[in-house]
Amino acid sequence: MTFLGMPAGGGNLTGTPFPKAARGALGDAQLRRNLAKATTTIRTKRAGVVGELPDWAELRAAGAAIKDEVLANLDEHLVRFEEALTSRGTHVHWARDADEANRIITDLVKATGTREVIKVKSMATVEIGLNEALADAGVHAVETDLAELIVQLGNDKSSHILVPAIHRNRTEIRDVFRREMPGVDPDLTDDPRALAEAARRHLRQKFMTVDVAISGANFGVAETGALVVVESEGNGRMCLTLPRTLISVVGIEKLVPSWRDLEVFLQLLPRSSTGERMNPYTSVWTGPTEGQTSHVVLVDNGRTATLADPDGRAALRCIRCSACLNSCPVYERTGGHAYGSTYPGPIGAVLSPQLTGVDRNPTLPFASSLCGVCYDVCPVAIDIPSMLVHLRSRVTESKRTTPESTAMRALSWVMSDARRWGRLIRLGKFGRLASRHVPLPGWSAARDLPLPPKQTFRDWWETR
């Protein structure tokens, strides 16, 4: 149920309930090693470059307040943004939900006559399931971000909002390329340099020939109509620059009021996400350039439902930096797929249930230990732990308590203590303990722990 009965969002925001999905991940030692290595590296880098700025706390306070201002007057900012875009020659479209956004974009693409589009990495398009919708209309969408390409070629799903293939190591990636990349060198090695070079060659031809590109945007400036894409590889620049038609899919919360506000976010975002002082490339464009036709599709898809809850709306401040994922002990052990949504990790645990309504994502608010690290690292100061507690009570109120959400309550007690967690992982008992506690259909195969029937879960645990 969404807040105040506001219409819910659709698309790729739900999946297998967390406890069930997490069980597979916890049994996968390779996955846990890949994740631990990656998140440790990026946490260290982030801490280093954040520590360099004497005014980090002040930037963070400003970032949170700017986003709160956007949300407090979102209607006015949207209307201003639309005016600014239109006056500079960009066509603006509005979409109530994922289906409507897909329809609009598919029609725009079909009108150009192309059978192929190139894409800049965009969470919004993954959320609405755009690639699948385009495929149904006979249009092939080519992902051009290296990690998205790895995911696409491997017929896989993203598990991280910044590094979607974080769960794959170099050997796995080489195997995907050898198998799926047309014309690839059969002796391709697993050296990251060689793999990046293979991707460069594979995509070069696409950049030069495909005439329609689809992007998201990290920020839209309401005052000027400027759109901003922050990236590393240059695939974004290629897609934004070379094709004749550019379609940008923008969630309605992506705005900042004025140009000046970027002085805050262009410091907060790169340091929080890749742990760099600045990302290699940021593109800013205001209206179509160099003879292009440009479209912007503004998407609601559950964002207004999120806005309606005063205790949950701050989730819309999120700038998708992924710092909360990289620091989360639960994410580090389960990986992104366990969350079943485009948005994994701590932010996913608060955002996905609000976009879809808590009844369609009743386990996610429990997928956390409430340790608070996500709040500390969040560059826009989203108090994720308090929001989780609030959403747990909404799950209970919605009276749609499921076996999984009951199990999650037991699990969240375990997750709230690092030692309990460690023991659980070592024992490989995740999922099993939940299935001891409540009758979970489909979990029975894992029941191999002798557990006296009268003993409570907590008693059992204390005696381990």
Partner: protein, 228 residues
């Protein structure tokens, strides 16, 4: 109701009753930190594995020529508004073709190097920003397709921090912020330079010789009627 009107109506129903939120801006604002530190700027650039040459302003042309010859380029494109001297390669008229003015993407694909100026640069982050409406910086494809980008930064264009650069860029329609060469960390978070953008970024920092340094960045001149 149209989708537009419905989304706006939902927003009005959903948002709280509060008025405007006041934004505390206690961070280091534009214009409060003086001019950018050239040594810091050069160090940041090297951190990204960009090549850096710091020279006196009257040495820029010869430095560019030396860099291009070292690299062994065969065809160079210079942004049309750059000084003529920036794409003069003395003694090499037969070996190197210099293209100025409008070029097609096909030509760029067959070009080994591009030479431009910039609008502003940030010492703290090692960032260089191009204004694509300025004739000495050229349209976006110019600095994207060739594999080697040589950019000249005048000392007085280097500002201290991001807020200083954002202030200098107000009203600039199309911008590219560049911090080192193209890179990816998508494979086990190991940094690899050079994916789709130029694999080599070479920065010539021109120390002012005749004029005192000011912290006011000066952008390029004239409108650019570029390629498509």
């Amino acid at each position: 109701m149209s989708a537009r009107d419905e989304v706006l109506a939902r927003v009005r129903r959903a948002k709280g009753p509060e008025g405007p939120v006041s934004v505390p801006r206690e961070y280091r604002a534009a214009g409060t930190r003086g001019a950018g530190d050239l040594d810091l700027f050069a160090e940041r650039l090297r951190d990204y594995r960009a090549r850096v040459r710091v020279v006196d302003a009257d040495q820029v042309a010869t430095t560019i020529a030396a860099a291009l010859l070292e690299r062994g380029v065969r065809r160079v494109v210079a942004a049309p508004g750059t000084p003529a001297g920036w794409s003069n390669l003395p003694d090499q008229p037969d070996r190197v073709e210099v293209v100025r003015g409008a070029v097609t993407v096909d030509t760029l694909e067959r070009t080994d190097a591009v030479v431009t100026a910039c609008h502003v640069a940030i010492a703290e982050t090692g960032t260089i920003v191009l204004d694509h409406d300025a004739a000495d910086q050229g349209p976006r494809a110019l600095t994207l397709v060739p594999d080697y980008h040589l950019v000249v930064v005048r000392a007085e264009q280097v500002v201290a921090g991001v807020p200083d650069a954002v202030a200098a860029l107000a009203g600039v329609r199309t911008q590219t912020w560049i911090s080192g060469p193209s890179a990816t960390s998508d494979i086990e978070l190991e940094r690899v330079e050079g994916v789709h953008g130029p694999r080599t970024l070479e920065v010539v920092i021109a120390r002012s010789t005749r004029f005192p340094t000011t912290s006011h960045p000066v952008g390029g001149s004239d409108q650019n009627h570029g390629i498509r």
